[in-house]
């Protein structure tokens, strides 16, 4: 089966600092792929490279068999890659419903259709009761869900989640896990960058561990926790100053 997303030998430099060094990975259709690593590993950079907000310094990114390396974030969204933001970026002056409608409009120009899709997605993400609220009136965890809902409204094939579980209470986190599973079950491939190990490891099918800009490990979560390099990288983090 051809992978949905292929990242090949991708590097990204910032003024001499190498954030991503010759990274290659692939994401299979229908899987939940985790992207983890200690602080400063280059996860956010790689995430932005895949999403299209940053261009790579070198390398190739292909999606659904087509080269998307030079496409902008908006163009990638039209192709089927959607993303959330680590620091929530809602459209503050618009209602919850309107926020999601913006996303739905990439697939249809008909307002009725867009509204229908928006309602559907809001029900799916348990925000159906908050449609008329202003985005800035939501609680933090509701705002997170709005981020996800908006991205889902674009009918993506690949959903990129940027640390969606950070800062949630255990109850909220469990709900979040359930949502991610339901998203995958509805046929959307998920790639999630995460920091909260206890939550992400049981959730993902495969995990990719980054460290210092390079791929350190790729495989099953259970194997990752036993891998010597991975353990060393995380232990080493405790002695390193936070840099990311």
């Amino acid at each position: 089966m051809k992978p949905l997303l292929k990242v090949r030998n991708v590097s990204r430099r910032f003024n001499g600092v190498v954030a991503n060094d010759d990274v290659s990975l692939s994401c299979q259709r229908g899987e939940i792929l985790g992207l983890i690593g200690p602080n400063g590993a280059g996860k956010s950079t790689l995430f932005n490279l895949i999403a299209g907000t940053l261009p790579p310094s070198s390398g190739l990114i292909s999606f659904d068999g087509q080269d998307v390396t030079s496409l902008s974030a908006a163009q990638r969204c039209a192709r089927g890659i959607a993303r959330t933001f680590q620091v929530v970026r809602s459209f503050e002056s618009m209602s919850v419903l309107d926020n999601v409608v913006v996303g739905a409009l990439v697939r249809t120009a008909k307002m009725r259709e867009a509204h229908r899709k928006a309602h559907e997605v809001l029900e799916f993400t348990d925000l159906g009761h908050r449609t008329e609220a202003l985005a800035n009136e939501l609680t933090p965890s509701e705002k997170r869900r709005l981020e996800v809902a908006r991205a889902l409204a674009t009918a993506p094939s690949l959903l990129l989640l940027d640390e969606v579980m950070t800062g949630l209470t255990p109850a909220e986190a469990q709900k979040g896990v359930g949502l991610v599973r339901r998203i995958r079950d509805s046929g959307i491939t998920v790639l999630m960058v995460e920091h909260v190990m206890e939550i992400v490891m049981p959730l993902v099918d495969r995990v990719i561990v980054l460290d210092l800009g390079r791929v350190l490990f790729e495989g099953k979560p259970s194997d990752a926790t036993r891998d010597a390099n991975v353990i060393a990288a995380y232990l080493g983090e405790r002695h390193r100053a936070p840099s990311e």
Binding site: C77, F85, S93, R116, N136
Partner: protein, 330 residues
């Protein structure tokens, strides 16, 4: 779906309010017979229409143009030149002016829309100033002396009236209504949503596939078209145009001012702003301006400052209930 109909209901309500306001205004000529007041009403409606057109590009789309006098002047000159030199009736001239202005707006938009903020605004100013200077020195269109439209008789065909101002009133009411409706349609359309998204958070909008370049161009064209039609109207109304009166920078500012004071990016803001600003301008000029002492300017300017500072979201926010919210809450 319950909430889809909430949105639809709100939209329907706004249309009903519009219809009532338009109907009420339509009865005014029967009630207001004083010629001076009729004049003020006509000017108010004209500025409401102009500001509403400006608002489409400036308020909704976020591209602040302070060079819209260019389109107003182009509209005025196109229909006037066609009429006085080639005998083309103003109705056709109006359409021609509108189309020409829209085309120019598209042509200018292509390079200019990559400019942001003040750089874009200044580009609009210099382009308009260039147009102004060119017309000021172009003998074929009368240069600084402008063009006088010869009057023959009260005539709908030639759209000129001397014995009554009422036809002008109805035309400009129609124009103001057309611009309001255009804004209404755009507000509820894909463009309206995408522009609002870009204004709130451009990066998030981009990640949702929002691409606004083409819609910006279209907004510029629509805005320019209506502004030009306003210009043609004005030419017929006053029967005399020159670069100073239809293409100056001051005029560009005056087109934007009602929208800013009334509420930029709102449906009723420009009309409300015009309803307050234009009578104010006219009355202060009439009562205080004659002396040449500048008292009218002092009063006018002070009021502009006060309104701008006291109500940054515009006067329309005084009327908003929670459902009609537009500005970011404080």
């Amino acid at each position: 779906m319950m909430t889809t109909s909430l949105v639809a209901n709100r939209r329907r309500r706004e249309l009903v309010v519009f219809a009532m306001v338009a109907a009420a205004l339509a009865t005014l000529p029967a009630l207001v017979t004083d010629v001076y007041l009729q004049n003020v009403l006509i000017l108010t409606l004209m500025y409401a229409a102009l500001s509403q057109s400006w608002n489409i590009l400036g308020g909704y789309c976020g591209q602040i143009s302070l060079g819209h006098a260019l389109y107003f002047g182009l509209g005025a000159y196109t229909s006037t030149v066609l009429f006085t030199k080639f005998g083309v009736i103003p109705w056709i001239g109006m359409a021609a002016g509108g189309v020409l202005s829209a085309a120019i707006a598209l042509g200018l938009g292509y390079p200019c829309f990559r400019l942001r903020g003040h750089y874009f605004t200044i580009a609009t100013i210099v382009i308009a100033e260039t147009g102004y200077l060119l017309f000021l020195n172009w003998d074929w269109v009368g240069a600084a002396l402008g063009i006088q439209i010869p009057f023959r008789a009260d005539d709908w065909f030639k759209f000129q009236f001397a014995r009554t101002k009422i036809p002008y009133f109805y035309f400009v009411l129609g124009l103001a209504s057309a611009t309001w409706l255009a804004t209404f349609v755009i507000e509820g359309s894909k463009w309206g949503y995408w522009w609002r998204a870009v204004k709130d958070n451009p990066e998030a909008a981009e990640s949702l596939g929002v691409e606004v370049f083409h819609s910006k161009m279209a907004a510029a064209a629509v805005s320019a078209f209506f502004t030009a039609v306003g210009g043609s109207f004005y030419a017929q109304f006053v029967s005399y145009i020159d670069p100073e009166s239809v293409m100056s920078f001051q005029f560009s500012l005056l087109m934007a001012l009602p929208a800013v004071l009334g509420g930029i990016g709102t449906l009723w803001g420009p009309a409300l702003g015009a309803a307050i600003l234009i009578p104010l301008t006219e009355f202060t000029r009439s009562y205080f301006g004659g002396s040449g002492k500048g008292t009218d300017l002092i009063i006018y300017g002070t009021l502009v400052i006060v309104i701008a500072l006291a109500r940054p979201q515009g006067l329309v926010s005084l009327f908003s209930r929670r459902r009609l919210r537009r500005a970011v809450p404080e």
